[in-house]
Symmetry: C2
Subunit: 305 residues, 2 copies
């Protein structure tokens, strides 16, 4: 199991020195299992971050968090066809394996798992996992197969890696909740940890899809966060949810966004809220700018909290 | 973790002496995991048999097979509500926990896992596993939620027990294939082993549901196997599948069975066959006698094989 370093390691100095032998890349499941079994025999705790590549600071923050919670960090890069509808951007989704590996090496990931689609979904593949309730509404409404595709691939990756802990970003908040529910429901012995959204200086939530934005779209894009943040503050100060949402929709439309949804929901159950309850609430938004679909969310923090 | 022996151990001498401390019963998942973790640390191989209780020789043959393939055998008894439709026999399904434990002790099972429905499906449970293709047709046609219910509970039990090997009976042949497919598709590191149907002296496949049969129904019931065995022989000798099936249906109806399905299918893909191909084929039947639904299957063994 030789070390394959896909990158010469040039460029900026790593912000964190890699531990041990640096970054190993593995494409075969048997090889992955052998490496992880050896770590487990050595009593090491395994952390895992599932990605679709095109890594940015948001992903790297998950790797750093996994690093803090485990002895060894495995990162998968797999562009999962199961979670894309035929009309969506599977073919054009940004790919940069070499760049991704360099970034992962810099933040001290130990193993990159790069399975092929043929290995993940061989001929005859027929199994799907669906998480009811949480998968409906929000992104599940316009992307009906999305969360089933996510849950299925994440369950597969969990079974392949068998991590002790896995970190998911709160940018995909609904996904985080779906994974938490699946792990509980299927009795997986894995700790799921959420990590806060990483934003550009101007507030835009980091996303691999931001690369699709034209310069003029990029200039408007931060208004998405500004709008939901203001909306959250207004609601926290007592504004009626319906009215605030209506104004927010109008504002986003005027800016050129095509709003898919703009909603206030309970942060745990993801049930839609028409007024604040006892639990944490969040503003969730998905909107298209040109050909780019952006999502974001923000907690509603009340004075008393 | 004290030993709870639900039975005094009276009755016939066990056909096989239990190893170690005899049979332990566990209801809590944490307790189950602790026991299995200890076995695993000791390097022991774990075998697993999932049952719904009302154990007969068929189940016990699975336990014996697991015993031969592993160092420790875990048997779950859980009447899974998820795989019963509202109209079906969940409420009346035979239950005999004490008798079951005595039988398991006699065949040398090491641990009986008896989870509660509340533990398996707590409030908010929302996850379902579905295996496409193989779950359709045969029992999947008249029981559309059945295999999803089976796959979901078996996946949960696999994740709870984490066996190295698990044995399933060929009586539920479609179920065996669905589980095999799920294990492959979800990358579970578990060996699935099929075990041949155990029959009464007169040929009736053993089933917990045979207890529902009246004396007169019980006298007719073996005709189900006789019919499909003859059918398999006729087809093996060159009879046209359609014609043989038609005659078989007529015969079963005349005997008082209400035929749900009587079909010839490929033993691996479970695709319906109108003529024999290169792979193994089987005759599959489901029929109701009075209020009892019986299923059975038999391989078509050609002369040349």
């Amino acid at each position: 199991m030789g070390k394959a370093m896909p990158h010469g390691g040039g460029g900026a100095a790593p912000p964190r020195a890699p531990e041990g032998d640096g970054l190993e890349t593995v494409a075969e499941l048997a090889q992955l299992r052998a490496r992880i079994a050896a770590w487990r025999r050595a009593g090491l705790r395994i952390g895992f971050v599932a990605t679709m590549g095109a890594l940015h600071e948001g992903h790297l923050s998950l790797v750093r968090k996994a690093h803090a919670l485990a002895d060894r960090v495995v990162v998968s890069i797999f562009l999962n066809p199961l979670q894309f509808a035929p009309s969506e951007d599977f073919a054009s989704y940004p790919r940069d394996e070499a760049g991704d590996c360099a970034k992962l090496r810099a933040v001290g990931a130990h193993l990159v798992y790069l399975p092929s689609a043929e290995q993940m979904y061989p001929e005859g593949f027929a199994t799907r996992v669906a998480v009811g309730g949480l998968s409906e509404g929000l992104c599940g409404r316009t992307r009906p197969q999305f969360f089933s595709g996510v849950a299925t691939v994440v369950l597969k990756l969990f079974n392949q890696v068998r991590p002790d802990v896995s970190v998911f970003g709160e940018k995909d908040f609904q996904q985080l909740k779906v994974i938490e529910r699946m792990v509980r429901d299927l009795d997986l012995d894995i700790e799921i940890v959420g990590a806060p959204i990483v934003r550009e200086r101007d507030g835009l939530a980091m996303s691999s899809r931001n690369a699709y934005l034209s310069a003029s779209e990029r200039a408007i894009a931060p208004e998405l966060y500004r709008t939901i943040r203001e909306l959250a503050q207004e609601i926290a100060h007592g504004a009626a949810i319906d009215e605030a949402i209506g104004a927010g929709r109008k504002r986003l439309s005027a800016l050129g966004f095509v709003v898919d949804y703009l909603e206030v929901r309970d942060s745990e159950s993801l049930r839609p809220l028409t007024q604040l309850g006892s639990g944490e609430a969040r503003v969730f938004v998905a909107a298209t700018l040109g050909r780019t679909r952006l999502i974001d969310n923000v907690a509603i923090v009340r004075e008393s909290q």
